[in-house]
């Protein structure tokens, strides 16, 4: 269970408030207008920012001051998900063995993950020669080898076209069936296709999780305005 407990975060004029829980294996879409606090919420969960009040708990354990890399959380960013100077295999292996010389076992695991995302044979290539879709697959392969139960995705496939984006989301669902995933998206269609819960974030307020059918069936107020 991922629990966001009485979370408060203020920077200058902006204030974020969140208080919700997600059962293990939930895929939550975080939607809402720009500047509402979606990415800030992910930053707080990931540990890049620390809350002024409240706690982030995984399975009842407070993640407190844990550094981002020590949390049971993997992150797919909007961009810069791949180190451009390292080959694809090393990029992926770093997910399992973040050392100066990644362990041989991690390299082997990375090969398997690359095969799972359809990038077998691309191990020695640099990211620059890969297409956007292939780079996204490589980043997903790295998520696989990290084997962390929570995955945060901040519009990770925004640069891809609609068809490729749908394909990637299907791949995420297929390869990470047990992960608890929170994904920021601007596309309601992505949320409908992917999510089992929806969180609406507007002006720093995070709604309680709602099933997508209910959420999209009866939109009211700010939600209706946003969806229109």
């Amino acid at each position: 269970m991922l629990t966001i407990e009485h979370l408060r975060f203020q920077r200058d004029e902006f204030e974020l408030a969140a208080d919700f829980s997600l059962a293990e294996g939930t895929r939550a879409a975080i939607i809402g207008p720009s500047g509402g606090g979606k990415s800030t919420l992910l930053s707080l969960i990931a540990g890049f920012d620390l809350p002024d009040k409240g706690r982030v708990l995984w399975d009842g354990e407070d993640m407190g001051l844990l550094a981002p890399g020590k949390r049971p959380i993997a992150v797919l960013f909007q961009d810069n998900n791949i180190f451009p100077h390292l080959d694809i295999l090393t990029n992926v292996a770093l997910g399992a063995s973040p050392r100066a010389w990644p362990a041989a076992a991690a390299m082997e695991r990375a090969r398997e993950a690359l095969s799972q995302v359809g990038l077998a044979g691309f191990e020695g290539r640099k990211p620059g020669v890969l297409s956007g879709g292939q780079q996204s697959r490589a980043a997903l392969a790295r998520i696989l080898v990290t084997e962390r139960p929570v995955v945060l995705m901040d519009e990770p496939f925004a640069a891809l076209g609609p068809a490729m984006r749908a394909e990637m989301l299907e791949l995420v669902v297929r390869l990470l069936p047990e992960a608890t995933i929170l994904m920021v998206t601007h596309d309601p269609e992505d949320a409908k296709r992917f999510a089992t819960q929806v969180l609406f974030v507007n002006e720093g307020l995070v709604s309680l999780p709602t099933g997508p059918a209910e959420f999209f069936a009866h939109p009211e107020g700010a939600v209706a305005e946003y969806l229109s």
Binding site: F9, R11, A46, G47, F48, D49, L50, D52, L65, A67, P68, G69, K70, I73, A74, V75, F77, N80, N81, F83, P84, H85, L86, T90, L94, G95, P98, R99, A100, K126, G128, R142, T146
Partner: protein
């Protein structure tokens, strides 16, 4: 990154320690000279003369450099011609040019047996001497004309192209463009350029050492050197060091407050589209200005190479030993700079808003006079050990300290870019410490790191400062060896050694810049 409260990592602490070491060294050496200086000693006539000459020559050098640079920069801004980019790149070369090499070239051009005196005596005039106040100013103009030109050129490039187009549609001629666009720009750029060059000229010991001297051309730094080396009057050296500290601090404070950043800015080879000044005489004037400036800057260096290259293989053994010593000093200094730069840049990008204190501490050395640092270290070491025994390590250390600000100006922005692009990804993957350095930071930052290392190596190789204070006859570096050869009128050997120093300095820069920075990914 807002709101982080994680404990600082070991590498961040290392960077903080490295940054703190700079003000600590400056404060310790300053304290040593202040404590050694006799309070109430008062200025002697020679001290006053040194202070007055230091300020006078720096002001005159800055004024002449900027006055000459303005037409050169304007000509470069409004003309396109083959080799323009190369010429502008070469304007950055004097920064790395060993002072003693440039002095040797200037002596070859303007000295008693130089080309200018050959022309003058051929026309029946008396020959002129390069030694003395005018020689010091000439050398300073040689070194700072390129800097002033680059600073002014940045000003021209900053004028938006739309303004030039508007001026063209209004039919504005060169005078109107100068009045309405160029003069307002110069009013912003010139004070900064004057101040920066003034500061540089107050701390250019090697120029005063080689071309100055005597009651009318002794700077404060040269007086410190004479007090230590010839009079062995530690108290007077300390007293003069306090004065030098004051001059440098006031000048640096004013420069930092009002000066614009010179930068190594790209894009200077971009010619501005101009519709005015297209007449024949304007073109002739511009190309004449560019040609004269290029000859003034290139001929001394070319003469060093042409005269010295054939003599290199005949150089005596002590010159080669001195070369080896200089290489060791340069490499040690470069290692220090690289390690300190990476540590400080890492720390400066890890501590959020407090980073400016770390960066500021590292940059503090820009206002430090190497001679004062050296004098302080001399005073501290003298009761304990013969300072000449530590001549080479101290030269490497001081060279590293004074080069550090240049390296930091290159590396900190690069590190900030890296952290902005990949910091969170690295954090989320828990790639830290040695792994982060080996796999991510060093490969991504190879190009700026190679450039910074190249600058450190070349500047240290050509340095003629602290070594002059500390060295005994057995421990000369190559620049000091050249100075001694010139003093002994062994000009053939000095010429070969100057060519050798020039080649080695630029080769070091090239090796580090290309060797480390080669094939770097963008």
């Amino acid at each position: 990154m807002a709101g982080r409260a994680q404990p600082l990592s070991a590498s961040t602490w290392l960077g903080i320690a490295a940054a703190a070491a700079i003000p600590l060294l400056i404060l310790t050496t300053s304290a040593a000279v202040v404590l050694k200086a006799e309070a109430g000693r008062g200025f002697s006539a020679a001290d006053w003369a040194a202070i007055q000459f230091t300020i006078w020559q720096a002001a005159l050098s800055a004024g002449i450099s900027v006055a000459l640079a303005i037409p050169v920069a304007r000509a470069l801004a409004r003309r396109r011609f083959p080799g323009r980019g190369v010429l502008i790149t070469l304007l950055g070369a004097p920064f790395l040019l060993p002072v003693i090499v440039a002095i040797f070239g200037l002596v070859a051009m303007f000295g008693r047996n130089g080309i200018l005196n050959g022309l003058l005596t051929g026309l029946g005039f008396e020959p002129i001497s390069i030694y003395g106040a005018h020689g010091v100013v000439l050398a300073h103009v040689f070194f700072n004309l390129p800097l002033a030109t680059r600073l002014s050129l940045q000003g021209w490039q900053a004028i938006p192209g739309e303004r030039m187009r508007l001026a063209a549609t209004l039919g504005m001629g060169p005078a109107a463009v100068a009045r309405h666009l160029e003069l307002p720009m110069l009013a912003r750029v010139v004070p900064g350029a004057l101040l920066i060059i003034f500061v540089i000229c107050t701390t250019s010991f090697a120029v005063a050492l080689t071309l100055g001297g005597g009651p009318r051309a002794t700077t404060v730094e040269l007086a410190i050197y004479q007090a230590l080396r010839f009079e062995f009057d530690l108290s007077r050296a300390a007293y003069l060091s306090v004065i030098q500290l004051g001059i440098a601090a006031v000048a640096a404070f004013i420069a930092l407050k009002f000066a614009t950043t010179p930068g190594f800015g790209p894009g200077l080879d971009r010619a501005q589209r101009r519709w005015d000044a297209q007449g024949l005489w304007h073109r002739v004037f511009d190309f004449a200005v560019i040609g004269i400036a290029a000859l003034f800057l290139l001929l001394p260096v070319a003469s060093v190479l042409l005269d010295g290259l054939p003599r290199i293989l005949q150089l005596p053994e002590p010159v080669w030993i001195a070369t080896l010593r200089s290489l060791l000093v340069a490499l040690a200094s470069t290692v220090l700079v690289v390690v300190a730069t990476i540590a400080i840049a890492t720390a400066a990008t890890s501590v959020g808003p407090r980073s400016r204190y770390i960066e500021g501490a590292g940059l503090l050395a820009i206002a430090a006079s190497p001679l004062v640092l050296g004098t302080g270290l001399f005073i501290i070491l003298f009761p304990v050990i013969d300072p000449s025994r530590l001549a080479l390590p101290i030269t490497a250390l001081v060279n590293a300290v004074v080069t550090l600000p240049f390296a930091l100006r290159v590396m900190i922005p690069a590190m900030q870019t890296f952290e902005a692009d990949f910091g969170r990804l690295s954090d989320s993957l828990n790639i830290r410490g040695w792994a982060r350095l080996r796999l991510l930071v060093l490969p991504r930052l190879r190009r700026p790191l190679g450039f910074a290392a190249g600058i450190a190596a070349a500047l240290s190789m050509g340095d003629l400062g602290v070594i002059a204070l500390f060295a005994d006859p057995e421990t000369a570096t190559l620049p000091l060896q050249i100075f001694r050869l010139m003093g002994a009128y062994r000009m053939d050997d000095a010429s070969g050694a100057a060519a050798l120093l020039l080649i080695v300095s630029f080769a070091l820069f090239w090796v580090f810049d290309r060797g480390i920075g080669r094939d770097a990914d963008d």
